[in-house]
Symmetry: C2
Subunit: 525 residues, 2 copies
């Protein structure tokens, strides 16, 4: 990819900045060739990668190096786009929001500072992947389980900071963060919570502060660079028990949610319950052309055939229990009784006891896997996807409304409908996977148009996304319109106070520093 300079930076100034960065990290960790830029571009970009071009990448190995880089960035006015491992597939991968930003690649920061089995937490750097942490836990024989997202090659911290989810009792990953070490936009080092006490023992166990707590201002955020954090981990259960139901009809999701939510708020079900639609199973069985070889959405009659052929329900519900066998049994009985009111079929049951082999692909047991990546092959060519991700209250009314609305918009655009709902408590996140072949410009253009329509239709109904792709960060931000965008304006005030030169991740989640609010894609549309 050809070089796109950061706004208002001349080639000479840019070269001077890179030279300065080389002084910090060494020549080999400042990456600025065309090939380097390709490596940090969005490989799933819905359009040409050149829409979100990095100018270079710089990769520090320590907190001190991050601090030095951030200070230099202020001098040289070269904005940084921090990524942990840069695997944010479907939302932009490693690519920056503002063209010409320099990717601050933290993947070399792979230290696991602490693994505390007694209290169940680890202290890690952003470069630690789910696989890395898993292997470390195994090596140490620590009685701890992780919570992992569908795809485990990304960063544990990066995922939690971007509000990622998993499918265990610790599935709301941002809520597991306890005690951050953050490089501020001026290069200063801040520790949140009890880390404010030098050498304090309670940093990674107490989730609040003396005074205001800042932990979550650094999630989905451009207010600082998280260099280290505590992450709570689940104690390894003595046993586990899983119930699986196939749920026949799309509309059945209504009673399913109304059954699960009260059991989740009452603490009977502890995990984040993931409910994927049938296509979630089929994408792992082959390529789209093996099931339907025409353009346009798979027609309803063929969907019904496929469900019959592969003995699938429209949805699959799996509920897993963790802990002492007696407890799992009591929980399972209660849940089965509740499902029985709507469904005669008994669930399949799968037991596990400590010491038994684990299913290497079971994310509900906290085992990282890359199986979900196979989805990339589904459409063929340069297969890619985006996620459309609104949040709705976890009741039938809201979930069925959301299902109907997005299903219609997606059908109107003649695109396959692949939805999932994850019940996280009082809310459900609704991920709509939108798959496309990047080699087919018409398909990509259609997806983009549809994405606009989804955001608009969903916001009009009173729901917002919790996360989105680089290209729609401003559009989604604009849907947060209460009091003329008070939330955006508030973000901007704090951003400008902390980062007057706007050098940390300008445009992240629609938050633009004043330094770049004049950019073509900056500010509100």
């Amino acid at each position: 990819m050809k070089l796109t300079l950061p706004p208002r930076v001349s080639p000479a100034q840019f070269d001077a900045a890179l030279k300065a960065y080389e002084g910090v990290v060494g020549k080999q960790w400042v990456l600025a060739t065309d090939e380097d830029r390709d490596a940090y571009s969005d490989i799933y970009a819905p359009g040409p990668e050149s829409e979100w071009p990095p100018s270079a990448a710089v990769s520090p190995a320590t907190t001190e190096e991050i601090q030095a880089i951030v200070r230099l960035a202020n001098q040289h006015k070269t904005p940084l786009w921090p990524v942990s491992r840069g695997k944010n597939l479907g939302y932009g991968t490693a690519a920056p929001r503002m063209p010409g930003s320099i990717v601050l690649d933290l993947s070399r920061m792979m230290k696991i500072h602490e693994l505390n089995s007694e209290l169940g937490y680890c202290v890690i750097e952003p470069g630690v992947s789910f696989f890395d942490l898993y292997e470390h836990i195994q090596r140490e024989k620590a009685p701890l389980w992780m919570s992992v997202p569908g795809n485990g090659w990304g960063s544990v911290l990066g995922n939690a900071l971007d509000h990622g989810v998993g499918y265990t009792p610790y599935g709301q990953h941002a809520r597991n963060l306890c005690g951050l070490e953050v490089v501020m936009p001026d290069g200063e080092l801040l520790r949140t919570g009890m880390g404010g006490l030098d050498g304090g023992h309670s940093w990674h166990v107490f989730p609040l502060s003396y005074g205001p707590d800042w932990t979550h201002m650094f999630t989905q955020s451009n207010m600082g660079v998280v260099a280290k954090a505590g992450v709570w981990l689940q104690p390894e259960p003595e046993a586990s028990l899983q119930l699986t139901w196939d749920i026949a009809e799309a509309e059945d999701i209504g009673w399913v949610v109304d059954t699960i939510t009260p059991l989740k708020t009452a603490g009977v079900i502890e995990q984040n319950v993931f409910i994927p639609s049938w296509l979630g199973k089929i994408v792992l069985m082959g390529q789209r052309k093996d099931f339907w070889d025409k353009e346009g959405a798979i027609p309803e009659w063929r969907v019904e055939e496929l469900l019959k052929e592969h003995k699938l329900g429209y949805w699959q519900v799996q509920i897993r229990f963790y802990g002492d066998e007696r407890l799992n049994r009591a929980r399972a009985d209660i849940v089965k009784q509740a499902f029985k009111r709507h469904l005669d079929a008994a669930p399949r049951e799968e037991k596990w006891n400590r010491g038994d082999p684990v299913n290497q692909y079971d994310v509900t047991m906290g085992i990282p896997s890359a199986v979900a990546l196979q989805m990339g092959d589904w459409v063929g060519g340069r297969g890619a996807h985006m996620g459309f991700s609104p949040v709705v209250p976890a009741t039938s009314k809201h979930v069925l409304g959301q299902l109907k609305r997005s299903r219609k918009i997606i059908a109107d655009h003649d695109v396959d409908f692949y939805a999932s709902f994850t019940i996280g408590g009082r809310y459900a996140t609704n991920i709509n996977m939108l798959m496309y072949d990047r080699d087919k410009p018409i398909q990509v253009a259609n997806i983009r148009k549809m994405f606009d329509a989804l955001i608009k239709g969903t916001a009009e109904a009173g729901y917002g996304e919790y996360r989105t792709h680089l290209g729609w960060m401003d559009a989604v931000s604009a849907t947060y319109d209460f009091n003329d965008g008070a939330q955006r304006r508030f973000n901007e005030i704090v951003k400008d106070a902390l980062d007057p030169n706007g050098i940390i991740a300008p445009g992240k989640q629609g938050v633009w520093p004043s330094a770049y609010r004049d950019q073509p894609q900056g500010g509100q549309p």
Copy 2:
């Protein structure tokens, strides 16, 4: 109490400000007589109330009135000290940190905007007390339980915002807050989280934001005035079961904590487990003079006599389970088995089923009570208390260390030792109740000296307080010394950006706006 003006405000300017406030709320809701000032002073003040004197109080009835008052405060440079119901006993009651601040009394804001039984939350204003909400829930026959602190006359929101705790599965009150409406220091209105979407349905169910989440920057905070918030409530359980053990020796707290913490992180125990020492029971039986009629701490031999006489252990552990009977039984069996390893005696068991009468004094069932207030009578005279409240990791090492350290400092000052530990998960809050008779200046002086020693000794060992009395807010803030007080400086940067005139709660938790950083008690010591 005589009038103390806010810094740099002349009597004429002060009168003009009060006139302006009267224009907003009406004459009767601007309270500025000597008697009014008495009513807003710290009735438990460790010293003369005049150390923390309010100049007046103004009491709005609506969010719009708060906004108008805040805008006027900016014009008149009259700092406001927001209180919800002003019942923060032991930490300053309604009195302001900075002398001459005007108390912004929100106790007239008593609307319950929503009570959602399906999803388990309410949306309330700061004036709603625990008793108010309890009565509302009873009246509506809503199947919801609250989580209440020891004393229920305070504000539900005020308590959560000040990081208060209760003794149910929803006992970490700040973590129940979901979706705030905040009047910013410039009078603008901000809604956090999904409330950023005008009319958004997910405001009070999704605990994060699109972009940075600001919820907890408004807890223990002077960054804005919370006018309304969502609070998660527990679904009413079908049944409940409580186990009670008397624990003989002070040092037994070590194995007790090591037994409870893993069961809590594993989800077997859901509630915040409150473990009070023996004096917590005795203070409810009469006055100190009935048990020991001399000055100085009750001697060890007499403590032992009292424990025998009243059949008390040094500690009492009560663990309550909530939900389906089968689940409670399974949980109880696991916990009993774990205790059995250390203690032969079986626990007392107490069952409850939906429909049974409830014990009106049982805070573990979410029933607000004022029984704890009786403690005020213990020392006689104008009895009062302060709480010394450090946070420690919930393991025997840290808990026993903390017990030993504070016990020694308190014994060295010849004061009764009344400790409790509340296990909130990976951490325990250790509340040391320090009781004194305000009519005895020597006693009060001794308590103050001791409080300084407690803060110093605890910080040197690596632990910080999560909350403190007005008089020690700066001292505790100073113990958060990492990177030369980076947390305090960070607070100041954000504070100055949001509140250039410093009109919201100057000095709260040691956070001083630049406008008042020159005050005698402002800034760092």
